[in-house]
Subunit: 175 residues, 2 copies
């Protein structure tokens, strides 16, 4: 799938077919997270894939934001300790940008591989951290539910171009 | 260009050919920023394209991080006022994630269109905000230098898979 098409057609998928995500695809999606660029190449992250049915059920019980029955999930974790140690002043802000970059790459890769995905921020943070065995200084930022999509979700609207795209100066529309 | 290939082959480009970025491509790159998904669809951002030579020179004078001679730039701005108003508690953290998503989409779109790009965090924040006429509550987060690439930059290394990609639990390698 073409990269521009992938960006413009990706949607949050919340309804999944029961077919499991093949191991090979799950690894490729994770690999794309790992390959992501980050400020100062700090790579302040870790990715935990969950796919065993009993583990997914456990994760769902801690994450009311997970709707439907994804057949896999990826916990995207911020290694805040690493961000602070290597990122210097502003390291944590920069790390949040980095996590956003990795999340988008993971979502786009899933879409490009024919999978549906949905990033989820509504979950019990301490519970998920314990469930995944995260070390001190590492926190779960988003869960990405994954699976083969069932149906095609509608696109969410966007702000008009004149409000957000400008030329040379803020307020001069461009788009 | 295939989306996975685009993600895995994108590099920060810091050496540019003198050829200007066509207006149509610059608009498409901005459009991809505007189309980006964000937490709660808050879209806490604005994008200012700069391409007039005297404006680029002015921007360069405020941004020691701009290396080489890009023929265009995009200032990616956080609308913190909007993030706080619409994003509720945690709105600003979420907005930094959102900005990361938009940045990655912009970088990937540029790459897919044959352009080179480099995100730059080293610049005079207040100076750039004034230069671009940003309103109160809006701040420049990153500048993206853009142009046709000259040469092919080397890839930066990444942490080994066993350090960042896990299955079911942190510490169980997967990749």
């Amino acid at each position: 799938m073409d990269v521009l098409e992938a960006i413009l057609t990706r949607r949050s998928v919340r309804a999944f077919a029961p077919d499991p995500v093949p191991d090979e695809l799950l690894r490729r999606v994770l690999e794309v997270g790992r390959a992501s660029a980050s400020g100062g190449n700090v790579q302040p992250w870790g990715f935990v894939a969950v796919r065993a049915p009993e583990r997914l059920a456990g994760l769902r019980s801690l994450a009311p934001g997970i709707i439907g029955r994804p057949t896999a999930a990826i916990a995207i974790c911020l290694d805040a300790a690493r961000a602070r140690a290597l990122g210097g002043a502003g390291g944590e802000r920069s790390a949040w940008l980095d996590i956003g970059v990795a999340v988008e790459n993971i979502l786009l890769a899933a879409h490009g591989l024919g999978l549906g995905a949905c990033p989820i921020g509504s979950f019990h943070r301490q519970g998920v951290a314990r469930f995944l065995g995260l070390p001190e200084g590492v926190e779960p930022v988003l869960l990405v539910a994954l699976g083969y999509p069932r149906g095609k979700p509608a696109a969410a609207g966007r702000r008009p171009s004149g409000e957000v795209c400008f030329l040379e100066r803020w307020g001069v529309p461009y788009g």
